[in-house]
């Protein structure tokens, strides 16, 4: 028969320690199974997955309800005015893709897209570009004059071009063409064929977004900036690739001197933009970013902000960085876009597992959001989950 035989002294201590160690070894490797999503619930190549639809639903509500939107924007602007602006860009890109997925619902999506674009142009006209920039934009003069931020011009052009790619609205034709001309002229004037986002500070993220806007715009209005795009590619490959990793650096001076090395919150989106203009280079950049920044632990995926060869700070782009792991909220969020854009399904599912685990999803009648993030985070996620048709349309040669 069995009898209770409690351990005594050191044996008791050892038994407790062994039990705790074994329990840890049993539990930690399986935790992710409770959070691992079915990929089809989040991303479908030929439709809108249920989770993506819920996220879109909440965003549509935000833009259809001014009070809700004001509260959300105020919350983000308290931390970073850029997030307000980028949240608009990623939402427009997301909605444009959904509109292409679902032509029968196009009118509703285009109404919200137009509302976002009109409000953004109005705010820019009333308050100037500084409204969407961080305060240090006023710390010194832009090298190129008159002062313009490619962060603003590039993303506004991308919003306009995406909208026009879904369906032409004559009242956006001129603003888009003018914005593209301004961008190309500004970038061509720079020694590295790049333009500033902040005084003497160029960002690869913004330059890649601007060139993507040029490519999308060309596919809409039939102009051809191919020569400029090829020159830009040659310039960044020659000047702005980090020798250690082979990745494009994230920021540099107006004359093309690198400031920061490769950065997770930049490179995933840059690789996605490059898909439009140099798919092989884009795939190479994604593969390198995946190797240098993509991480996996116990079934959870995440991305580092900096590669091992570069010591960079925790800042507003990276978001808080988890000590030891080096996991960055900003890099991990944009890695979702990279993984989705390059069909890296395993990494995408691991990243989504982490999101379900530590993003604190909230689902109700209004849709889905992630409490640990904010509107720009949700908009990036939405775009990651629905992207595909817009880029595909640009890459597919017109039959005419």
């Amino acid at each position: 028969m069995l009898m209770f035989s409690p351990f005594r002294g050191w044996a008791r201590l050892a038994a407790a320690a062994i039990a705790l160690l074994l329990a840890t070894a049993i539990w930690l490797p399986v935790v992710h199974l409770f959070f691992r999503p079915t990929l089809a619930d989040y991303r479908q190549s030929h439709g809108i997955a249920p989770a993506a639809r819920q996220i879109a639903h909440r965003h549509l509500r935000l833009w259809e309800d001014p009070a809700l939107r004001a509260a959300e924007i105020d919350r983000m602007r308290a931390s970073n005015a850029e997030w307000d602006f980028m949240g608009r860009t990623f939402l427009v890109l997301g909605l444009a893709n959904i509109a292409l997925h679902e032509p029968h619902e196009q009118a509703r999506y285009l109404t919200v897209i137009d509302q976002i674009i009109d409000e953004t142009l109005k705010v820019e006209a009333e308050h100037g570009m500084y409204f969407f920039l961080m305060p240090y934009a006023r710390a010194g003069p832009f090298v190129a004059q008159p002062a313009r931020s490619l962060f603003i011009d590039g993303e506004i052009a991308l919003m306009l071009a995406a909208r026009q790619r879904v369906a032409i609205n004559p009242r956006y034709e001129r603003p888009l063409a003018q914005r593209i001309d301004t961008i190309v002229q500004g970038m061509q004037s720079g020694p590295a064929l790049c333009a500033e986002s902040y005084p003497d500070e160029c960002w690869m993220f913004c330059n890649a977004a601007a060139v993507a806007a040029v490519a999308v715009s060309d596919s809409v209005d039939g102009r051809d900036h191919g020569a400029f795009i090829n020159e830009w590619l040659a310039s960044i490959k020659a000047r702005l690739v980090d020798h250690e990793t082979g990745l494009l650096v994230s920021s540099f001076t107006y004359d093309g001197k690198p400031l920061d090395g490769p950065e997770g919150s930049s490179i995933w989106f840059v690789a996605h933009c490059l898909q439009l203009i140099d798919p092989d280079f884009a795939a190479d950049q994604y593969a390198r970013a995946r190797a240098e920044l993509g991480q996996r632990i116990m079934g959870f995926g995440y991305a580092r902000e900096w590669p091992a060869s570069w010591q960079g700070p925790m800042d507003v782009d990276s978001g808080p960085i988890v000590p030891v792991l080096g996991a960055s909220a900003g890099s991990s969020g944009l890695a979702l876009l990279g993984a989705a854009a390059f069909d890296d399904h395993n990494f995408l599912r691991e990243l989504l597992t982490s999101l379900q685990f530590a993003g604190f999803p909230c689902t109700d009648d209004h849709g889905r959001s992630y409490a640990a993030g904010n509107q720009v985070g949700d908009a990036v996620l939405l775009y990651a989950l629905v992207q595909g048709p817009l880029w595909q349309q640009v890459l597919t040669p017109s039959p005419f």
């Binding site: 407790a16 039990a19 329990a23 930690l28 919350r75 308290a78 997030w83 808080p320 409490a371 640990a372």
Partner: protein, 101 residues
Amino acid sequence: MTKRIWSIARLFLWGGLLSAPPWVARAVLLLAIFALLHLLGWRADTAIISGTLPAPGVAGELAILRGLLYVLSYFAAVLVAPILLIAAVLLTLMQLGPRRI
């Protein structure tokens, strides 16, 4: 009164560290704390972990506190409590060594 509270707290923190029933009790307590904070709606204040700051002022500082407490209680409930429960089962099995009399 303070002494009594302190002795209870000390008992909870350090008492019976090497046996299964207190591990189960602690796990249940961690789960209960998380459930309470969840029901209070503190999940909505967790944006702080992505660097999104609430509005300045006392209300904002309280939101940060709520968010941090929620995050701590969540990870305690999801990571620590199950380990304590599994360990309690394992320790009980170890103590129930097959011994014939």
